[in-house]
C-alpha cells in the first residue's frame, strides 16, 4: 500500500485552485461599504488550496483505506450491513426527484409527496401500525420522537405521574439516552437466564409511574422475546405504552409485526433493514409507526391524500411539533422505497428467512469452539463470548483485529454489555454460503490458535494501513483538528 500521510491541508499550495465558477456577471458590490464595522472577516479561513486532481486523488486514496460492504463480509451485529443494491443509488440520484427544494409549492412536488405517502403506507403495513412519520433522521431520533409521543399521550390524558421508562439491560445505549432526553427517568430491568426480559422483575417495577417500556425484538442477543404478548399485556394493563426499537426488524419482515405484538410505537432503521447504505456513519433514516390512538401526536407535517392530490398537513393541534427540518432524509427514503418496490412482500420475507438461516448456520458451526451464552435457535444474529479464549489472553478485541487481517470486518464487540467478551454476529441475507464458510473457517482457525499459540494473535492487525491505534492517547490529549 502506498503511504500518503498528508492531510489535505498539508497539500495546500498558495494560489492553487480547484473550482470553476461562472464569472460574476452583475455589478460588484464594495464589501467594505456594504458591511461596515466588524462584519467582514479579518483573516481568511485556512482552507486548502488544491486543484481538482489533488482533491480526487487525496480522497480516492483515503477511500482505499476504508472498508465497505462492497469490499467484503461485514457481520457487524445490530447494524444489518446487508448489500446495498446499486439501482437504489441510481434512483436516489435522479435529478427529477433529488434536485427539489423542500419548500416548493406542494403542487410542484406531487411525485415526491406520493413517494412519502406510499412509504408511510408500506412501512405501516410492514410494522402493523396505523401511520408512520418519516421525519426522524436515524434510529435514535425515532426513539426520541416516539418517547415524546408517549409523553404527550400521557400528558394529554393528564396523567403526569408517569415519569419512568423501562429498558432492558441488554438494550442499545440510544434507548436510555433517548428516554432521558425526553424527560424520563430510566429504569433498567435485568434479563433472565434465557436472555429475555425477566418477567418477574418487570412485574415488580410496573406501576402507575411507568410511562412505557422500550424493547428490541428480537433483542440484542438475537433472541425473540417469547413472552412478548404477556409483556405487552402487563405494560398495557398498568397503563404504559410499548416502544419497539426496530433495529432488528431484519429478522421478521413479513413474518411477524410489532403492531400485532402489542407495540404502540415502532421505529425502523431504513439504513439497516431496508438496505440503504450507511455512508460511513450516516445519513440514515428512522421512521416511526404508531397505533391509531397515537396518530394525533405524530410530528408535523403529515402527508395526506385528498382526491389524488397530496398535501402537507400542519394543522394538527396535538402534534408534538417538529423533530427535524422538513420531511426526513428523503434521499435515504428513496433508496428504501426502491428496495421495498423491488422486493415485494415475498422478497422481504425471503430476506428475513435467509438472514435468520445464515445466523443459525454460523452459530451451529462455531458452537463447539466458542461459548454461546444462549445457545438456541436465534434470529438474524447471535452473540458469542470469547471468554474461553480470553482465559488464554486472547480477547474479543484480539479476535476482531485478526479478522481485519483476513479481509473481514469484525462483528460488533463488547455489546450487549451483559455478555462478557461479546461478539455479536449478524451475517444478513445478502451473504452467500461460501462467504459464511470462509468466515467460519477463519473463526475456527482463530479459536484453535487462541488455544495453541495465543501470542500469535496479539499483534494484529498487520495488513492494514495503520496498526493498532492508541485510543487512550487520543482521549487524554485530544487533537481534534489540524493546525499549521
Amino acid at each position: 500500500m502506498i503511504r500518503d500521510e498528508k492531510l489535505i491541508f498539508e497539500k495546500s499550495v498558495e494560489g492553487r485552485i480547484g473550482y470553476s465558477l461562472p464569472a460574476n456577471d452583475v455589478p460588484e458590490v464594495d464589501l467594505e461599504v456594504v458591511y461596515p464595522g466588524d462584519m467582514l472577516r479579518k483573516t481568511a479561513p485556512q482552507l486548502p488550496e488544491v486543484s481538482e486532481v489533488d482533491v480526487i486523488r487525496h480522497y480516492t486514496n483515503l477511500s482505499k483505506r476504508n472498508y465497505g460492504v462492497d469490499s467484503g463480509f461485514y457481520p457487524l451485529g445490530s447494524c444489518t450491513m446487508k448489500y446495498n443494491p446499486k439501482i437504489n443509488e441510481d434512483i436516489a440520484s435522479m435529478e427529477g426527484l433529488a434536485q427539489m427544494h423542500p419548500l416548493q409549492n406542494p403542487q410542484t412536488a406531487q411525485g415526491n409527496l406520493e413517494i412519502l405517502y406510499n412509504m408511510d403506507k408500506y412501512l405501516s403495513e410492514i410494522l402493523g401500525m396505523e401511520r408512520v412519520t418519516l421525519q426522524p433522521a436515524a434510529g435514535a431520533q425515532g426513539e426520541m420522537t416516539g418517547l415524546m409521543i408517549i409523553k404527550a399521550y400521557h400528558m394529554h390524558r393528564l396523567d403526569s405521574k408517569r415519569v419512568k421508562i423501562i429498558v432492558p439491560d441488554s438494550s442499545h445505549g440510544t434507548n436510555p439516552a433517548s428516554a432521558a432526553l425526553a424527560g424520563f427517568e430510566v429504569v433498567h430491568i435485568p434479563s433472565d437466564e434465557r436472555g429475555c426480559v425477566d418477567i418477574n422483575a418487570l412485574e415488580d417495577i410496573l406501576d402507575d409511574t411507568v410511562a412505557g417500556l422500550m424493547l428490541t425484538n428480537p433483542n440484542t442477543l438475537g433472541l425473540f422475546e417469547e413472552d412478548i404478548l404477556k409483556i405487552s399485556r402487563m405494560v398495557h394493563d398498568c397503563g404504559g405504552l410499548l416502544y419497539y426499537d426496530g433495529a432488528n426488524m431484519n429478522a421478521i419482515m413479513g413474518i411477524a409485526r410489532p403492531g400485532d405484538m402489542g407495540f404502540d410505537i415502532a421505529h425502523v432503521n431504513l439504513h439497516k433493514t431496508f438496505s440503504t447504505p450507511h455512508g460511513g456513519g450516516g445519513p440514515g433514516s428512522g421512521p416511526i409507526g404508531v397505533v391509531k390512538e397515537l396518530v394525533p401526536f405524530l410530528p408535523v407535517p403529515v402527508i395526506e391524500k385528498v382526491d389524488d392530490y397530496y398535501t402537507l398537513d400542519y394543522d394538527r393541534p396535538l402534534s408534538i411539533g417538529k423533530v427535524k427540518s422538513f420531511y426526513g432524509n428523503f434521499g435515504v427514503i428513496l433508496r428504501a422505497y426502491s428496495y421495498i418496490r423491488t422486493m415485494g412482500s415475498q422478497g422481504l420475507k425471503a430476506a428475513s428467512q435467509t438472514a435468520v438461516l445464515n445466523a443459525n448456520y454460523i452459530r451451529k458451526r462455531l458452537e463447539d469452539l466458542y461459548d454461546i451464552p444462549h445457545n438456541r435457535i436465534c434470529m438474524h444474529e447471535f452473540v458469542l463470548s470469547a471468554q474461553r479464549q480470553a482465559k488464554n489472553g486472547v480477547t474479543a478485541l484480539d479476535i476482531a483485529k485478526n479478522l481485519l487481517d483476513k479481509g473481514i470486518h469484525p462483528p460488533t464487540i463488547y455489546f450487549p454489555l451483559i455478555v462478557q467478551e461479546a461478539m455479536m454476529i449478524e451475517p444478513t441475507e445478502t451473504e452467500s454460503p461460501e462467504t459464511l464458510d470462509n468466515f467460519i473457517e477463519i473463526m475456527r482457525d482463530l479459536a484453535i490458535k487462541a488455544q495453541e499459540n495465543p501470542e500469535s494473535l496479539k499483534n494484529a492487525p498487520k495488513e492494514t494501513y495503520v496498526s493498532r491505534l492508541d485510543e487512550v492517547k487520543a482521549a487524554r490529549t485530544p487533537v481534534l483538528r489540524w493546525k499549521k
Partner: protein, 463 residues
C-alpha cells in the same frame, strides 16, 4: 423466490437447514408465538424489476418540477448552490458510502481522516476550537447546543431571536418541551419601530428578558431574513449575565464574514447543506456543531481525534466516547448515534475544491447577485423595502400583490419564487423572502425581476 440480492440457492438452503438441524424455514421462527406469525402476505405492491422501477420513478419525477428545469429563488433554510462534479464522484466510492460508522479504526482511516479534515474546516470557518463529526441538521444542532448550554451552567432558560429560522425554533420547542428548559423569543426590529427597522434582534427587548436564569442566547446570522446580526453586541450582553452565546451561521457566508468565534460566540451551529450537498427535498441535510474549548467534552455526537499507531504513525480514531450513549447510556450528552458522515465528507470535498479563494468567491457572488436583484426589484417600485440592515444572499421585500399569487404566476414561467413570510410571521404579512445564490445568472435574475414586475402590475393588490 429467486432474488438477485439473495445469493442462497434452494439446494444450499436445504444443506444449511440440515446443518442447523431444523426441517424448514418456518421452524427457525418457532420462538415466535403461533398467533403472531403472519398467515398471509404483506399488502405491498407486486415486485418490480430494475427496469420497471426506473420507469416507475421516472413517472413520479414527471409529477415534480425540479430545480434544474425551473429557476430557484427559494431559500429559507435550504440553498441551491453550485456543487462541483468531483464531490459526487468521491462520495460514490463504495469504500465510503457502504461503510458503517468507523468502529474499527484500522480499516476506517478513510472515513476517519475525512471527518478530521471536516472538523478542521468547520472549526476554521466558525473560528471555534473544535467541531464534531456532524449532526442531523441545523435545527437539531441548535437543540443540542441549547441542551449543552443549560447543562453547562445549570440554568433553565433559553432566549432565542425570533429572527432565527422558524423550523429551527420549532424543533427546539419540541425537543425541549419535556426537558424543564423554557424558551423565550426576542423580537426583531421592524417597520413599526421608526428608529430602527434593521430586522436584527431587538436589543432592548433582549436586555429586558435576560437574567441570571438565562442559560444561553441563540441568534442566527445571517438571520432568517438574510440580515446580519451584531453577534459581538449580543455576545457582550450574554457575557454580562454569564449566559452562553449560540450563533447559528451559514457556512458559505463565513467565506467573507467574521467568524462567530472571533465575535464572542461560545457555540456555533448551523446547516452545512450549502457546502456541496444537494437540497434533496430537505434531507439529508448536515448539522454542524462547533465549540470553544471549555465545551469540548460536552459536545454531542461523534468526534474524531488524531493519535498514533503502535509504530508511531499518525492515525485517527473516534474519541471522547465517554460522552456517548453506548457508554454513558442515559447520562450521555446526546442520544445521537448514526449521524451524517457522508454529507460531512461531501462538505469536506466541497471546501477542498473551493478552497480559500473559491469560498470567498461564492460568498461574494451571492452578495453581488442578491444585492443586484434587490435593487432591481426596488427600482421598478412593484415591491417595497422592509428592512434596512445589510443582508447576505437573501432579502425581504413587500410586493404589491400577495407573495403566493406571485409565486403561482412565476411557476408558469418555470421560476420557483421566494418564501411567503405571512404564515410564520403574521407581523410581516405579505412579505417575501427571496434568495439569490451564485448559481443565478444575470439573465435569470433580469428575467425574474421583469416577470415579478409584470405580475405585480397585472395582479391583485397586496393589502
Amino acid at each position: 423466490m429467486k432474488s438477485s440480492y439473495i445469493p442462497m440457492t434452494r439446494q444450499q438452503q436445504e444443506a444449511m437447514l440440515s446443518t442447523v438441524d431444523v426441517k424448514s424455514l418456518d421452524e427457525l421462527f418457532s420462538a415466535i408465538p403461533e398467533e403472531l406469525r403472519l398467515q398471509k402476505d404483506l399488502k405491498l405492491p407486486e415486485p418490480l424489476s430494475e427496469h420497471e422501477l426506473k420507469k416507475h420513478m421516472n413517472t413520479l419525477a414527471q409529477k415534480n418540477s425540479d430545480t434544474i428545469g425551473n429557476t430557484c429563488f427559494l431559500g429559507a433554510g435550504a440553498y441551491d448552490h453550485i456543487i462541483p462534479s468531483a464531490v459526487k464522484h468521491i462520495t460514490s466510492r463504495q469504500e465510503f458510502y457502504t461503510a458503517y460508522t468507523p468502529y474499527q479504526p484500522e480499516i476506517s482511516q478513510g472515513v476517519l481522516q475525512s471527518i478530521f479534515e471536516y472538523q478542521t474546516m468547520i472549526a476554521e470557518l466558525t473560528g471555534m476550537d473544535a467541531a464534531n463529526a456532524s449532526l442531523y441538521d441545523g435545527a437539531t444542532a441548535l437543540y443540542e447546543a441549547a441542551l449543552l448550554a443549560s447543562r453547562y451552567n445549570g440554568r433553565k432558560e433559553i432566549l432565542i431571536a425570533r429572527s432565527v429560522n422558524p423550523e429551527y425554533r420549532k424543533v427546539l420547542y419540541s425537543g425541549l418541551r419535556y426537558s424543564g428548559i423554557t424558551v423565550k423569543e426576542v423580537d426583531f426590529y421592524k417597520e413599526e419601530n421608526s428608529n430602527n427597522k434593521s430586522g436584527t434582534i431587538n436589543l432592548e427587548q433582549l436586555q429586558d428578558h435576560i437574567s441570571k436564569n438565562t442559560a444561553a442566547i441563540a441568534i442566527q446570522s445571517p438571520n432568517f431574513f438574510g440580515i446580519l446580526e451584531d453577534i459581538k453586541a449580543v455576545s457582550h450582553t450574554a457575557k454580562e449575565v454569564g449566559a452562553l452565546l449560540i450563533a447559528v451561521c451559514d457556512p458559505i457566508s463565513l467565506g467573507v464574514f467574521e467568524s462567530p468565534g472571533a465575535l464572542g460566540a461560545d457555540i456555533a451551529v448551523g446547516e452545512a447543506q450549502p457546502l456541496g450537498n444537494p437540497m434533496n427535498f430537505g434531507g439529508p441535510l448536515l448539522g454542524y456543531f462547533a465549540v470553544k474549548s471549555p465545551f469540548i467534552r460536552r459536545m454531542p455526537g461523534r468526534i474524531v481525534g488524531e493519535t498514533i499507531d503502535s509504530q508511531g504513525r499518525r492515525g485517527f480514531v473516534l474519541t471522547l466516547q465517554a460522552r456517548e450513549q453506548h457508554i454513558r447510556r442515559e447520562k450521555a450528552t446526546s442520544n445521537i448515534c448514526t449521524n451524517q458522515a457522508l454529507c460531512a465528507l461531501a462538505a469536506a470535498n466541497y471546501l477542498s475544491l473551493m478552497g480559500k479563494e473559491g469560498l470567498k468567491e461564492v460568498a461574494t457572488q451571492c452578495i453581488n447577485k442578491s444585492v443586484y436583484t434587490y435593487h432591481s426589484l426596488l427600482e421598478a417600485s412593484q415591491v417595497s423595502q422592509v428592512f434596512e440592515a445589510p443582508f447576505f444572499r437573501e432579502f425581504v421585500v413587500r410586493p404589491k400583490i400577495k407573495p403566493n399569487a406571485i409565486n403561482e404566476a412565476l411557476l408558469t414561467e418555470k421560476i420557483i419564487g421566494g418564501y411567503d413570510l405571512t404564515a410564520e410571521y403574521p407581523e410581516l404579512e405579505g412579505c417575501w423572502l427571496v434568495a439569490v445564490t451564485e448559481k443565478r445568472s444575470k439573465k435569470e435574475i433580469d428575467d425574474f425581476v421583469s416577470k415579478v414586475n409584470s405580475i405585480c402590475q397585472g395582479g391583485i393588490i397586496n393589502d
